[in-house]
Symmetry: C3
Subunit: 380 residues, 3 copies
Amino acid sequence: MSSTDDVALVDHHCHGLLRTDPSPDEFRVLATESDRLTPDGTETLDSPFGLGIQRFCAPLLDLPRHAGVESYLDRRAELGRETVDRRLMAATGTGRLLIDSGSLMSPLLSPREMEDGLGIPADEIVRLEHVAETVARTATAASFADDVRAALQEADAAGAVGWKSIIAYRYGLDIRPDPPTATQVTEAAGRWLAGCEASGRYRLEDPVLLHFLIWAAIPFGKPIQFHAGYGDSDIELFRADPSRATRFFAATVDSGASFTLLHCYPFVREAAVLSQVFPHVYCDVGSVTHFLGPSAGTVVRQVMEIAPFSKVLYSSDAHAISEEYLVSALAWRRETGRLLDEWIADDWLTADHAERIAADIGAGNAVRLYRLQAASTGSR
Amino acid sequence: MSSTDDVALVDHHCHGLLRTDPSPDEFRVLATESDRLTPDGTETLDSPFGLGIQRFCAPLLDLPRHAGVESYLDRRAELGRETVDRRLMAATGTGRLLIDSGSLMSPLLSPREMEDGLGIPADEIVRLEHVAETVARTATAASFADDVRAALQEADAAGAVGWKSIIAYRYGLDIRPDPPTATQVTEAAGRWLAGCEASGRYRLEDPVLLHFLIWAAIPFGKPIQFHAGYGDSDIELFRADPSRATRFFAATVDSGASFTLLHCYPFVREAAVLSQVFPHVYCDVGSVTHFLGPSAGTVVRQVMEIAPFSKVLYSSDAHAISEEYLVSALAWRRETGRLLDEWIADDWLTADHAERIAADIGAGNAVRLYRLQAASTGSR
Amino acid sequence: MSSTDDVALVDHHCHGLLRTDPSPDEFRVLATESDRLTPDGTETLDSPFGLGIQRFCAPLLDLPRHAGVESYLDRRAELGRETVDRRLMAATGTGRLLIDSGSLMSPLLSPREMEDGLGIPADEIVRLEHVAETVARTATAASFADDVRAALQEADAAGAVGWKSIIAYRYGLDIRPDPPTATQVTEAAGRWLAGCEASGRYRLEDPVLLHFLIWAAIPFGKPIQFHAGYGDSDIELFRADPSRATRFFAATVDSGASFTLLHCYPFVREAAVLSQVFPHVYCDVGSVTHFLGPSAGTVVRQVMEIAPFSKVLYSSDAHAISEEYLVSALAWRRETGRLLDEWIADDWLTADHAERIAADIGAGNAVRLYRLQAASTGSR
């Protein structure tokens, strides 16, 4: 595991931490992709991720391993989120955070607050649907497309390092290979905006506009992140298979944009194949590095089956609670290190080569792809 | 493996045993999900499950391990099914059987006969399509819905502990999130009943009626089992992906009903995700615990990747031949035990906690979910 | 691994080798399923298959293991393709090659040239779409069906041992269970031929004609190979799931034809289930035996989970460069040997039985299925 210990991780997709201390049950629900507790008489944290919290986080809160869920939640409340977050985040060894700032859950820290509070350089990933839903409050059907482009221009100028699309949630990954026409966009915007005004609800689900957003982001030449596979109860997994976007990737191979497939569980192999077949497609296994707890090695191994080593990225997809950052980071280090150690032992590559692969996946590939400043690329 | 040895299993989904001794070729075909032998010149039992039979069952019939297929079938015939079934069933360590009584293959023992003959308490799971196909022989289009409801009422009063839907076979798991209307049901019943009378064939494939049955069962508040994934040659696997039912699960989260996803191969990860995301969804890996023979550990490990430990159930899905009960039970004990032992060795949890997880999956979760009598929950 | 060392492999699906030495970048691209290099600043061969080349091939070109990509490509050019191919092919231990002669990449050696140049007996697999695209240059709408049948008759008489369909690329594996009518074929041929003449491009994508080709091949009673799963950037993975063809397999179970599912990644489990459920369906994991490099064992293990041992075949799917033949052959031997050794150690079967299974999968099943001459079935 020496090969991964020294990497200062670039976490290319994560979210902000909570601004306030969660109640025990809020914490339990945040530690799943559900919006509910498990049935009466059961403990929601009796789960693989729950084991990860006990194993990796309890000792950092001065508890013995396996202290138990109640003791852990008591101690967390006693220390308070700032102390907990500072301890756990420091132990991740993260050198840089690329933060999706468009999460719908409001009381999360912004990229700037994360950087200031934790001392870890942080960049912003702008969520396309969030841009559209903001623009919608002032746009007309006729101005919508230009207003979106202007908002993206502004985010680009302000230093956003990439974009995020959640079309997987809102429509699925059957992304068409050609952009909608200006007329189609105007018509769709008219329909959607009228509905928003009538209902007071600005949630974008129109497929024309979801497609338009992606095509509006492409000319900036910055990476576009696609949620793929596993996520909260909104997602229909079979529609979130990234291979459904194959024709789209074929159509954009010379567009100058790159695409990163996030999470991907249980379509990790599909994502890795796409990252082999298309030079502008990358993949990661964020979120399942922590949600799988003791089994995180299975997804780390799947993504390493067929993807070129230059196309795999590290992310935690951590959200709200620092336990997700820590368990993901330690699981990635352990499991990638174990796999590379096995390969070295079986003479597939040299220790030097393994070290380079670990450094590329943990940081270097993201630095190159997102054109990050050299300052963030050092080792721990 | 100490953690699983003591659990008196609750087999929450299985079928009855044969009433008569099978011929050698009948046995071979029953030991697959095919309705044919493998090609001429090959041995159908030269398969993973065939290895499991030799390994676990041959010694219980006084044969050496690896006695060979012919010797095994000879010895089985010599002892006769009653002796074989008694020996193999006793070795499973099963404390309770929940038996789907609607299998189309007629000469299977009923739950009552299973309990009386084997001394293992048995409850009935009522197959919804079987109810409809029975009701169809006397119903009219106008009476169909009420007749079905009355039949379910009767089964409920008679002590059925749950329901089983095979909509995956007859239509696929694209289950709509809203119930059909009374008018739609009456119209569909009219069409179907007319076809039944004309053809003399009472096989329900109408999607409206298949949906109606599920919605008719929901108000009873008892668990509804869904066949998912692997099954006989009738199933189109890609249509049997349980994630296709996501919107249905979202729509029924407050209905009071629970749903159990059976088998799930090769969609075990999809099923486990659904059981994390929805509090009323459970999963198992029945049937592939025996059909995978030496590889059964792969599915046991998949289901433990992301599912909360309170949402995983044990079933054998055994059918007709007691070899399926035995190989499934021993494989589950071995492989769950090995996995938990690895987790203990790697300090993910304590031995006590592992024991509780094993007891919950092997029995406790089913006892809670199906509200079984305490009498059946003791250890072996 | 003793169980696999002695098997003279029958490679039931592969392609010809290059006729000319590739440039370094041509080699890099051939070592993927992409038609592009990875992004600037990265090495395309920094991949799992790249590790396999360094591990298994470098020593045979008199280099140390892990000599590095540049050194390997230099040495390959220095020795020249004939020497390289002779050395690597000899080390595969292949006893017979069944070569798909319809690859679109023109400068590949024919089956006859492969046999003459390498001294390995070679048979031809005729690609159905290639036949149609050749016939199209002279056929009329009215003559098309008969012209195709005549061309198949000729290929059959000339000793073709089987057929290959790439309907997965051109349409997907949603193969209908019934053949198109003569009228439908004539109409579709008329449309397609008119388009070919107008464009000068003879690429068959018409679903009616793609289906017709399969039904035209069935009466010959020889195996028909289906591309399934992973392939070049043309494939949409989710459409290449072999379970989509379930109704077709059910409809052809008594047709006298057999079907082999090639590659199958990441649908190996789906393919293995189909080969259990249908007596005339077989499966392999060709191409991913080399593209997965150190992880090839995962697919070897998946295909052995549920398939009867008589229904699994060996293929390399190697194409153009002899590194693919060699890495696939050695990976198959290592990983199948390891798995069987583990099963022996865990007492699932005897060493003799393991040896028979290895011989069946490596050669015997293909000899029986393709009715190959006994001459090719000896051990190495």
